[in-house]
């Protein structure tokens, strides 16, 4: 191979580029045909809008005040009209209507859900961001530098054993332990979920790197003497990204679920910050008196997590070249 590096490069380099349609375009075409995944995408687009609006309208220009306590108006049903005589004018909900009712303190559930959409979504994304970053780093190192020896063991063995160690903890119990021991804060929850969920990604990336390392364009790039950083980040990471994207999409879904489970056990994001998880967890005490406190956040989580899962599954099919050729 070292004999004629130029020759090796000449052919494969042009290969993938000649295709009339880029792999991404192809995947997008596949994805568009998957109705469930597209429905998921639509829901998520709506959610993104809601989350943006949540941040803006509940914190910066307070149109919907999630924190306003109106004890006389507690546990009002959805769509009930606010009673202007019992509530201070500045505490009246927008439009004078409690769209989704009020909770046991008379707070506007719609405003809280709106605020919670941003918080819940950022917990999902930040946690997955952390987990993907760690996963790519560890998986990439062990896939690319796997053969490098560190004393008596290889990098690959070391990192994969470490991954095994992490997999050997009962994850939820571990999250629970750490979250319970740390001071309660939304950042700690994001970090802990991220730090305990990267193992799948690491294994995926390692597997991709191992097979990519043998492929023509990487061998060619190495033969050309391109710097390793460039080979890894320009050539290998983009090619390994498809399965990571799929598992990240599904990861956001499970992070949102984990947060709600933590809230249920009392270790989630603490009041007054609202997340869908803690609204739901608090709502369970009012399941008979004020079912909307329970069913609204429950249904919201269900729909959003379902959307992430369906989109992830659709992406998996669309990005899998093996399935595509069939």
């Amino acid at each position: 191979m070292s004999a004629a590096p130029g020759h090796v490069v000449a052919e494969p380099a042009g290969g993938p580029l000649r295709a009339s349609e880029s792999p991404l375009q192809q995947a997008w075409r596949m994805l568009r045909r998957d109705r469930l995944a597209m429905a998921g995408l639509a829901v998520l687009a709506l959610l993104a809008v809601a989350a943006g609006a949540g941040k803006v309208l509940t914190e910066w220009y307070v149109v919907f005040d999630p924190a306003a306590v109106r004890l006389p108006e507690k546990l009002r049903a959805p769509l009930s009209v606010a009673d202007a005589e019992r509530v201070a004018p500045e505490d009246l909900p927008a439009l004078g209507i409690y769209l989704l009712g009020t909770d046991e303190l008379g707070r506007d559930v719609f405003a809280r859900m709106l605020q919670g959409s941003f918080v819940s979504l950022s917990i999902g994304f930040v946690a997955v961001g952390i987990s993907v970053a760690i996963g790519i780093l560890i998986g990439g190192l062990s896939g690319y530098y796997g053969n490098v020896k560190l004393g008596f063991i290889t990098v690959d063995t070391l990192l994969m054993r470490f991954t095994d160690v992490m997999l050997s903890f009962p994850t939820f119990f571990l999250i629970l332990t750490v979250v319970a021991l740390l001071p309660p804060s939304i950042y700690n929850i994001m970090i802990v979920i991220g730090v305990t969920s990267w193992m799948g990604t690491a294994r995926l990336v390692r597997g991709e790197f191992l097979s990519l390392r043998e492929q023509d364009f990487v061998v060619a790039a190495q033969a050309l003497g391109l710097p390793e950083r460039r080979i890894i980040f320009r050539h290998m990471v983009p090619n390994a990204i498809a399965p990571v994207l799929v598992s990240a999409t599904i990861g956001v879904a499970s992070a949102i679920l984990t947060e709600s489970a933590l809230s249920f056990l009392g270790f989630g994001v603490q009041p007054p910050d609202a997340t869908w998880g803690n609204i739901l967890a608090d709502g369970r005490s009012f399941i008979f008196d004020a079912p909307w406190l329970f069913f609204v956040p429950g249904a919201a989580i269900l729909v959003v997590v379902l959307a992430f899962n369906l989109l992830g599954e659709g992406l998996r099919e669309a990005l899998n070249p093996k399935l595509r050729s069939r």
Binding site: M30, R33, R324, R326
Partner: protein, 329 residues
């Protein structure tokens, strides 16, 4: 002989297409094929021309996405396409055996070869456990596997490719079928092993008097083995002939190209047939002759007008405008 009544297996105007993401793939577009008892018919053609699909369609083993759109398959007077699934099952493995292209993956990895041979014996010959084992050993010996009594308890992964293919053959002939469809039985094997497998098939054929449909892309194999040949291109038959005539006087430019690509000395040496240009994708077959883009003798009408398979002399037919009408002479 030669009359329609005499044909053991007869395929008429077979059209098969697959539903895919990219649209319907017309894999086979009007294939006619007739096999007499005891004879060997070879089907040759480049990769992707529809040979395997034709074979699978005969046994109704196409993937769920594949559909037989038109045509008839008759075997010993019965219309196979009209049979119920249980009736069809009673034929498969008993009266029509099949050997697949890929010996490495065609055996079930979790059963011993003895069990896999025995299954056929249980289904079609109703043999008990003991008898099955004895018969499996006998069959393994028959297909030339040494130490058959030990091999019978081995798993496929413990065997070489050639041995797996012998096991596949043992399964296919276990019920002494009248027709054996061998789909490139040697393509995946080494050259020396190929010759052994072909010799084995020939010996078995003589012993059992079965008809063989031998699918291959190697004309060298055809010359040694078959009496009659069908040349396929892009889902159609472009030339039909007996072997001697075909080698003496190939008519279709594609057949000629195939023959030129044949290594002249050693007929065993299997080489990838290389003809200039590539086979068109089934999604974009031209309206005219599918070979026209690669044809050295292309005529103006070839691109738009499709030639039909026409007899030029007894037992020799070709689908090519160069020879159209010569039969009427």
């Amino acid at each position: 002989m030669g009359g329609a009544a005499g044909a053991l297996l007869e395929v008429r105007d077979l059209h098969v297409s697959f539903d895919t993401e990219a649209g319907a793939v017309p894999a086979v577009r009007g294939v006619d094929l007739r096999v007499q008892r005891g004879e060997t018919l070879a089907v040759v053609g480049e990769s992707g021309c529809g040979k395997s699909v034709t074979a699978l369609a005969i046994l109704r083993l196409l993937d769920p996405s594949g559909r037989i759109e038109r045509g008839a398959v008759r075997f010993d007077g019965q219309d196979l396409l009209g049979l119920s699934e249980p009736e069809m099952r009673a034929l498969r493995g008993r009266r029509i055996g099949m050997v697949f292209q890929e010996p490495m993956t065609s055996l079930n990895p979790v059963f011993t070869v003895g069990d896999q041979i025995g299954e056929v014996l249980a289904i079609h010959r109703g043999l008990g456990k003991r008898e099955r084992r004895a018969e499996a050993i006998r069959l393994l010996e028959k297909v030339g596997i040494p130490a058959a009594a030990e091999r019978v308890d081995q798993y496929p992964h413990e065997m070489s490719g050639g041995m797996k293919q012998r096991v596949m053959i043992a399964i296919a002939i276990a019920c002494e079928p009248e027709v054996l469809i061998a789909d490139e039985p040697t393509t995946a094997l080494d050259v020396t092993v190929q010759a052994q497998i072909l010799d084995l098939l020939r010996a078995l054929q003589q012993e059992m008097r079965m008809a063989i449909v031998l699918i291959t892309h190697n004309l060298g194999v055809v010359a040694q083995f078959a009496q009659r040949v069908l040349v396929m291109y892009a889902g159609k038959i472009v030339e039909r002939s007996d072997v001697a005539t075909l080698f003496r006087e190939p008519l279709h430019p594609y057949t000629r190209a195939l023959l030129r690509a044949l290594p002249s000395r050693s007929a065993h040496a299997e080489r990838l047939v290389s003809i200039a240009g590539t086979v068109p994708s089934p999604l974009e077959y031209p309206p005219g002759c599918a070979f026209c883009a690669r044809c050295p003798d292309v005529l103006p009408r070839c691109a738009d007008d499709e030639p039909r398979l026409e007899g030029v002399e007894a037992g020799h037919a070709v689908a090519c405008w160069l020879h159209a009408g010569t039969g009427a002479r």
